[in-house]
Symmetry: C2
Subunit: 213 residues, 2 copies
């Protein structure tokens, strides 16, 4: 497995956590999203991923090269190929709750605060940082409210799930944009429990080969 | 099952298609996203869904009221409860490809062009319609490229999947923002195949109880 990733990309980070949790060894291919107009915009990379995003998972199988984009699709694939430890509970309702809590960062926070978007906001005369902070606050407020009655040691009960995998990178982004996390006690409590796990620790941006100081 | 929906919400539309495909009867609860500051912002609705979005699925079971937000989480739940007809193929790779093509509208297009976001762009001095058009074009270009080698009669092979469920509402939005769809022959061909199905036809905005002329 080869993972096209950028150290500070929160969506790539999710996949790194999942690969670590499942004990899948992978090759790290750095894609610098900022330098020289962004390596994701080169013809070579667009050929691999027309959406020009990371993460991208690539592997050979049956003599063919396969590629998957979109972090949630990659997580769902890893779950099928390496079912243990499971990132989704078996119970249909709990499973759906994990999807819901994972999708709040995935579709209601991260897309609105990624680099390409905040640049466009700046180009339109707005304040990119204030914009990103706003969507983080709005989304995390909802995530805290949804998670409060569902959380145990982790976001949904006492097992690590795809929801936790999406939470940790989002909290890192929120801090970067100046969000005060004191209002989200459930989320920060779960963050502490995740941080104690080696699979989460090894996935952190500063521990990636393309990390910058 | 009670579905909180807005006729022109593309995320609600996805759930309506899935409920129709699976033959699940449901009660339609209209949430007017625009009028009087938006019904999604009332304390009553925020109590049900702190993210202040539609769709929201609500049902009683075992003496408890359950609620699910996030269209992809709702689709995943419907798939568990009513497995047939399946919205995801059994094969792990094909299943992941369906997730990928579904997640392009879900996390890389729709979040960037919804009403709350384009309003914020307008408030920041930008052009909300041009903004929404841009993200639709960028995302659909990638979706067309990914789908071309995977599509049969539908987006992934010859069976309707969650990817088609997400595609149809997105193409409607794209047209509203003035996107020329001629560059996306795979997507518009699949759209025609979906439109021929009654489950898709009944889910269209203009056929909902809260439709406006």
């Amino acid at each position: 497995m080869k993972l096209y990733s950028y150290w500070r990309s929160s969506s790539s980070w999710r996949v790194r956590i999942a690969l670590n949790l499942k004990g899948v060894r992978y090759e790290y291919a750095a894609v610098h999203l900022g330098r020289d107009g962004g390596a994701q915009n080169t013809p070579e990379y667009r050929e691999k991923n027309p959406l020009r995003t990371v993460p991208l998972l690539e592997w050979e199988e049956g003599g063919k090269v396969h590629r998957l984009s979109q972090s949630m699709a990659i997580l769902a694939y890893l779950e099928e190929r390496w079912p243990e430890p499971a990132l989704w509970p078996k119970d249909p309702l709990k499973k759906a709750q994990v999807w819901m809590l994972a999708e709040i960062p995935n579709s209601s926070i991260q897309p609105l605060q990624n680099l390409a978007v905040s640049k466009q906001v700046g180009a339109a005369g707005g304040d990119g940082n204030a914009w990103s902070k706003h969507w983080n606050e709005r989304g995390l407020e909802a995530l805290e409210a949804w998670a409060k009655p569902l959380a145990g040691q982790f976001l949904v009960g006492d097992q690590v799930s795809a929801a936790d995998v999406c939470l940790i990178p989002q909290l890192y982004s929120a801090r970067r944009f100046g969000v005060d996390l004191a209002a989200f006690p459930t989320l920060t409590r779960v963050e502490k429990a995740c941080e104690a796990l080696d699979a989460f620790a090894r996935a952190r941006p500063e521990r990636q080969p393309d990390a910058e100081s």
